[in-house]
């Protein structure tokens, strides 16, 4: 416990700012969550995920065979904000991209392939939400692969629109808008 407290203190002192840090994710948290790949983890085919979601717009994907597999893989959800109806990430979310980049450059993770899944809430039309979530997930992937120098062979991106809500009883809840980062296993 003492060591953990000091670890947190170290992050806080390295950044040199205030109490808001308790709310922020760190690359250490990401690495710790994403490197726990079980030996029996299922192989996921990204193309089949795309097929399933395209055939089920407005109906949800949580129960479908390939989307169900994702729950067994190490993952982390983050909040990245975009300009309205745009793929431009707002400056307030730049740090989150930076945290992801730091984690993906870490030796613990840099040999794995990651799937970026974009989610919206259920405001607006399902078709539009699916399209926007794919474009936003792609924007994140491109940013990581270019500006943040993550090898593009280690990244894939898909959108799932409003079809896999975190809070299914409140489909319009803001919490449903999120970006998932999922470890797909050792990069080929």
């Amino acid at each position: 416990m003492f060591a953990r407290f000091l670890g947190i203190l170290m992050v806080a002192s390295a950044l040199g700012s205030g109490a808001a840090l308790a709310q922020q994710i760190t690359d250490r948290q990401l690495v710790g969550s994403l490197d726990q790949l079980a030996a029996e983890a299922p192989a996921v085919d990204v193309g089949l995920l795309v097929d399933e979601v395209n055939a089920n717009v407005g109906k949800g994907v949580g129960q479908l065979p390939n989307w169900s597999l994702l729950a067994q893989l190490p993952q982390f959800a983050v909040d990245i904000e975009f300009e309205n109806n745009s793929v431009a990430i707002v400056p307030e979310s730049y740090r989150t991209l930076g945290v992801i980049a730091d984690a993906l450059h870490n030796p613990m993770l840099r040999n794995y392939k990651f799937l970026i899944v974009g989610h919206t809430n259920a405001t607006g039309k399902p078709d539009h939400n699916l399209d926007l979530s794919l474009k936003r997930a792609n924007a994140i992937m491109v940013a990581l692969a270019t500006t943040f120098s993550v090898p593009s062979s280690n990244l894939a991106a898909i959108g799932v629109g409003q079809e896999l809500p975190l809070d299914a009883t409140n489909p319009k809840a803001a919490a449903n808008r999120r970006v998932q980062l999922i470890n797909l296993g050792v990069a080929k």
């Binding site: 000091l6 002192s13 740090r95 730091d102 270019t146 943040f148």
Partner: protein
């Protein structure tokens, strides 16, 4: 892996007790680079680079292209974080080459980058200055 938090904790304590800061020799993380960039350039991004994105260096190119108009603080911050990130990436690419001798000497039989790095972090006191600096600059302590 289990020893790492304790090691970092001890290092923190040392830094706190001695008041030591190695600011001049440090590279910064992408996370911290983005924090200062958003702080110092956020307003300029919204003014001059609306609807451009982080990808393909669009934001950096836009800010540099509007250098006469963006705030001097933003221009300075952008240059500083770009240089620091480049140093960090170079260090990350070089760590295992720079530290190969130390790894061979102090981490005999240790296999795989993750385990070798963990070993080198533990053997810091007897590793070369260059190797230690590379690990620090890589942001992997």
């Amino acid at each position: 892996m289990s020893n790492r938090p304790r090691f970092l904790g001890a290092l923190t304590l040392l830094l706190l007790v001695t008041g030591y800061t190695a600011a001049s020799a440090q590279t910064i993380s992408y996370a911290d680079a983005m924090t200062v960039l958003a702080r110092d350039c956020g307003a300029d991004v919204k003014k001059f680079c609306k609807d451009l994105n982080l990808g393909n260096n669009e934001i950096r190119n836009c800010l540099e292209g509007n250098q006469g108009e963006v705030s001097p603080q933003c221009t300075a911050t952008l240059a500083a974080v770009t240089a620091s990130i480049e140093r960090r990436l170079a260090a990350q690419a070089a760590v295992f080459k720079v530290c190969a001798g130390n790894a061979k000497q102090h981490c005999k039989g240790v296999v795989g980058e993750v385990h070798i790095l963990q070993c080198l972090i533990k053997t810091e006191r007897i590793d070369s200055e260059k190797c230690n600096q590379a690990i620090t600059d890589a942001g992997w302590r």
